[in-house]
Amino acid sequence: MKSPAFDYVRAESVADAMSAYAAADGDAVYLSGGHSVMPSLALRLQAPALLIDLSNIAALSGISLDDGWLRIGAMTRHVQALNDPLIAVHAPLFAAAAPFVAHPAIRNRGTLGGSLAHADPASEFPAAAVAMQAELEIASSQGIRRVPADDFFVDIYETAIEPGEVLLAIHVPSPVAGQVIGFDEIARRRGDYAMVGAAVQAVSTDAGLEDVSIALFSVGNHPVRARKAQAALTGRAIDAAAIADAQAALEDDLNPPDDPQFPASMRLHLARVLLGRVLANLEAVA
């Protein structure tokens, strides 16, 4: 399990990184925390000519609040999602998801941006980003654009990031009054990828739930917005009947992959159970 040979460059700026990528004719891989890239190299699943280390680029780090949005640099480590006070308040689903992400030493090194760009369908942060309706800031040679999380996750391990582009930051809209969240997952062991997971955000009003946003993960090729379930909850108070309707709606929302080790029927069943539990335990954040 030794990596194939490659060259390495530590980029000092985003422009640096992108020009190194271009110079390698695209036979290059960006390295942030490296916790997905390194195993895939050790397994020889890929053999790029060049690794471009993004860790030294100032533009990719830092967490700041700006005009109702929290900007989280792509190089932000998982452990910061767990501990950072701004994330706790302004991107609470990242904070809620973080304890479920792998193990302490992995969290010290793995990055939020890396996790989102890797887009593993069973991983936690992408679903949290979708549920929070985050926007992803991507740099290309043409400039910088922001992509809503709903459009960012395209397929299994596939995102809106085009070859050579760099994910700069995650922008999360600050919670509004009455905002509630819930996050949970069912995994075989602590820190494992989820069998099924759920990230939920909504606004609790006198007229019931509004702006309901449900992202389920490990139920498809990318985080899945459960729009029928959202609709079933909108304008209603959280009670047993509302929860049951949301659970029932998942039948239409989800089309989980089928595998003898993990049948689609089991994923659907677990998604319903989990969604019910998360909805029953929504917590106020703002």
């Binding site: 399990m1 990596s3 194939p4 075989r188 602590r190 993990f262 049948p263 069943h269 677990l270 159970v273």
Partner: protein, 784 residues
């Protein structure tokens, strides 16, 4: 003879643990020798096929590559090996070679070996080997393998059946026809594997100038490998030195002969320089032996009072493409059918065993060989019987366990038990776990929709095996051990012994035993293990023999040296040796306890001034002793375990709340280390009960062959384990110790399965397959 027992029975800490805590372990993986080259293997990507083309030209020319071997260039220097034994009458297996010849038989079968200056370069070159395999239909399922018309697993065999046998008492049929109740079940025990944290590792170093082969080998049985290497490579065994330094876990997995280790030795002999192979984790999954893989149909007959009359068992076990060498892949199934019903006064029995080939990695001996299968089947049927007769699981066991005063006892399968303590263990368990309170809590929680289960499993464990295990079948596997104990010129003690250390504390308990024979403290006894050049030959570590057999060897060697010391002391002091004894580092007067002369003084005189000893006085301060168990063929131990679980009936996820063990391993040499063995063993039983499984697709590809996908038990999911003991020493030895290394593993899974089924009982659901995954539990509950 008076012997102090100051240290036997005490929780001495392990001196060798201090090295590991300081980062100073000495593992084979850490070894770098001058001119050493690194091996990597090209492996078959398919489960079965014919090698059509193998072109290594590009690989041989790759940077850093020193040599490339194929079957044609490597296999001739090593005699093939065949994993059969005579006492398994009629068993068959094809001869094995280091590299696949013509046909590949499992996904992972080594085809070519590349030696390079670094492992990375060797792996680079592996990618340049052109290997064309014509795919053949793989045999992946044992039942299908036995169906007429199924292709053979390999061209080297005439049938996919490796071995079949039946044990039957004359009264079996009658017992079932007279039974008031019959319960039955079909059980599946998944394939799993050892996953030692240090993978298999070997550095072979052949010196052509002297003909000396030194193999640094992470194994539990260095003497066995000395013999294997000598025989397969045609070397005199005194020119083969096997050194097993610190070994990062073994558990039975590292005592089998593997293609890669043999190939590394062959390459070193050919090149005349050191060759290193360390399996990476991917290779471990497709080349280390796997374990279990049994399907069992079983029924149990009872009278109206719930007395067990008989069991009728049929075990089909799937072993891969070959039976392993030198201990075979039949030993486990053989133990499965012989251990069924072992704790109970069951008079009649039939056990059928079919051992079947398939195109997968070999399965073979792994911690608690056969025990978890026999225990889980027996205990599941006992629980089903209890349910049918409306008896409490404790009560039905109390009615059937062999009475503590009914020994010696011979089981229906022919095992002889010297003396066991099942009823005392049951009583202790019941009290320790607060059985009645737990039952009350269980009933109360059920009303709140919380489903907890309590599972109990009695067991016996085979320990201290004599030659009946392998030797009688023609295996060159030693059942005896040897020790050399010497007093140093300064009055300290050194013991070189053939039993080996993999962290269980062998060296510590040997020091304790020797110390008590010589009147010194254990830290004055330096123990050397794991080197065939510096320790006498012996069986080393397998089947729980280190304490019982190794300990007895050390005890007898220590007593022999004690007699020699007393003889010298008698000569020096002009006293009768019988009036003297050893204590606190000195020779004392046996009657008064008064110190007469220190051991340091004895050492000094015997070493530097032997001229001052009376004429004819033997100045030897070295004693050699070998010991082979006699009396019972095995020293059985017994115990009972209980598992407390909570099943989330909506998700199928099981939480392990607590585990209890009452164990009787005879004389306890070191309570700290005995409990450590039990706890580790329990978790090694719980792992495959809930998590561990080597999963294969229909093509014979293992689909979860990495540590990210194969789920080992981790700290977050494992329970705390409470332990109590009963001590029934064996009278076969002076020491009275039996083995304990496999007791935890033997029954943990059985207790857990009973606990899960106890939790599921209100829903009318039941599970009979391990691992008990959420999918299987949800399926049993009808949710999937």
């Amino acid at each position: 003879m008076m012997a102090s027992t100051d240290h036997i029975g005490q929780s001495h800490r392990r001196e060798n643990a201090l090295r590991h805590l300081a980062g100073r372990g000495r593992f084979v993986t850490d070894l770098a020798l001058p001119r050493m080259v690194h091996a990597a293997f090209v492996r078959s990507p398919m489960a079965k096929g014919k090698i059509v083309e193998l072109d290594v030209t590009a690989a041989a020319a790759a940077p850093g590559v020193v040599r490339v071997f194929t079957a044609e260039t490597l296999n001739p220097i090593c005699a093939p090996w065949t994993g059969t034994l005579d006492h398994f009458a009629g068993m068959k297996s094809a001869p094995q070679n280091m590299l696949a010849e013509g046909q590949v038989l499992w996904a992972g079968h080594p085809v070519a070996m590349i030696l390079a200056h670094s492992r990375a370069e060797a792996e680079d070159a592996c990618e340049l080997v052109l290997l064309d395999i014509e795919d053949e239909d793989a045999v992946v399922d044992g039942d299908a393998a036995l169906v007429e018309g199924t292709p053979l697993v390999s061209d080297g065999i005439a049938s996919n059946l490796c071995y079949r046998t039946v044990l039957e008492t004359p009264g079996l049929e009658e017992a079932f026809s007279n039974a008031a109740h019959v319960v039955e079940g079909r059980f599946t025990f998944g394939r799993h594997t050892a996953v030692t944290l240090e993978p298999r590792a070997v550095v072979a170093d052949f010196d052509p100038s002297t003909g000396q082969l030194t193999v640094h080998h992470g194994t539990q049985t260095p003497y066995q490998f000395q013999d294997v290497y000598a025989h397969q490579f045609g070397l005199p065994d005194n020119k083969v030195r096997v050194i097993a330094p610190d070994v990062g876990g073994s558990f039975g997995m590292k005592l089998h002969v593997y293609n890669e280790e043999m190939a590394v030795v062959a390459a070193s002999i050919t090149l005349g320089r050191p060759v290193r192979f360390v399996a990476d984790r991917l290779e471990s999954f497709v080349s280390d032996v796997h374990a279990r893989d049994h399907r069992v149909s079983a029924r149990m007959a009872m009278d109206a009072q719930g007395t067990i009359l008989a069991m009728d068992v049929d075990d089909m076990t799937q072993i891969g493409a070959f039976s392993t060498y030198p201990r075979t892949s039949v030993a486990e199934g053989n133990q499965v059918i012989r251990l069924m019903g072992a704790p109970y006064t069951m008079p009649d029995y039939r056990g059928r065993l079919s051992v079947v080939f398939q195109n997968k990695v070999q399965t073979s001996q792994y911690r608690a060989v056969g025990h978890p299968i026999a225990c889980a089947v027996t205990e599941a049927l006992v629980d089903r019987a209890a349910e049918q007769l409306d008896l409490d699981p404790i009560e039905i066991r109390a009615r059937n366990l062999v009475a503590d005063d009914a020994y010696p006892h011979v089981s229906a399968t022919g095992y002889q038990f010297e003396k066991l303590s099942h009823h005392a263990a049951l009583a202790k368990l019941r009290q320790m776990m607060g059985y009645e309170t737990l039952r009350e809590e269980q009933a109360a929680l059920r009303k709140q929709g919380i489903y907890r289960g309590i599972g109990i499993a009695s067991f016996v464990e085979i320990t201290n095996p004599g030659a009946a295990f392998y030797g009688v079948g023609g295996a060159r596997v030693s059942a005896q051990d040897g020790a050399i104990v010497r007093l140093t010129p300064s009055g300290e003690v050194h013991c070189a012994i053939s039993v080996t250390e993999q962290g269980q504390g062998t060296e510590t308990i040997i020091a304790q035993v020797v110390a008590d024979q010589l009147g010194v403290t254990p830290d004055q006894v330096k123990v050397t293990t794991g080197d065939t050049d510096t320790t006498p030959s012996g069986g080393a570590t397998w089947a729980c023999r280190g304490a019982g057999i190794g300990g007895e060897t050390a005890l007898r060697a220590g007593r022999r040296l004690q007699a020699q010391i007393l003889a010298i002391a008698g000569a020096v002091l002009q006293a009768e040796p019988a009036t003297l004894a050893l204590a606190e580092g000195a020779v004392i007067d046996r009657a008064t306890g008064q110190e007469r002369i220190t051991l340091a003084e004895i050492g000094r005189i015997a070493t530097y001034r032997p001229d001052t000893l009376p004429e004819g006085c033997d100045n030897s301060l070295t004693a050699v002793q070998h010991f082979a168990p006699t009396g019972y063929p095995f020293d059985f131990t017994n115990g009972i375990q209980a598992s407390h679980v909570e099943v989330d009936i909506e998700t199928g996820v099981t939480r392990l709340l607590k585990h209890w063990v009452v164990e009787d391993c005879g004389r306890i040499i070191n309570p700290l280390l005995v409990d450590a063995q039990i706890r580790g063993g329990v978790v090694q039983g719980l792992g495959p009960a809930f998590f561990e499984e080597c999963m294969y697709d229909d093509m014979g590809q293992m689909t979860n062959a990495s540590l990210a996908d194969y789920l080992v038990p981790m700290a977050g999911e494992m329970p705390d384990i409470e332990i109590a003991h009963i001590e029934t020493p064996t009278l076969d030895t002076i020491l009275g110790a039996k083995g304990v290394g496999e007791a935890g593993t033997a029954a943990a899974g059985a207790a857990a399965m009973n606990a899960v089924n106890d939790a599921l009982r209100p829903m009318g659901a039941r599970i009979s397959q391990t691992p008990m995954t959420p999918l299987r539990i949800l399926t049993a509950l009808g949710h999937v």
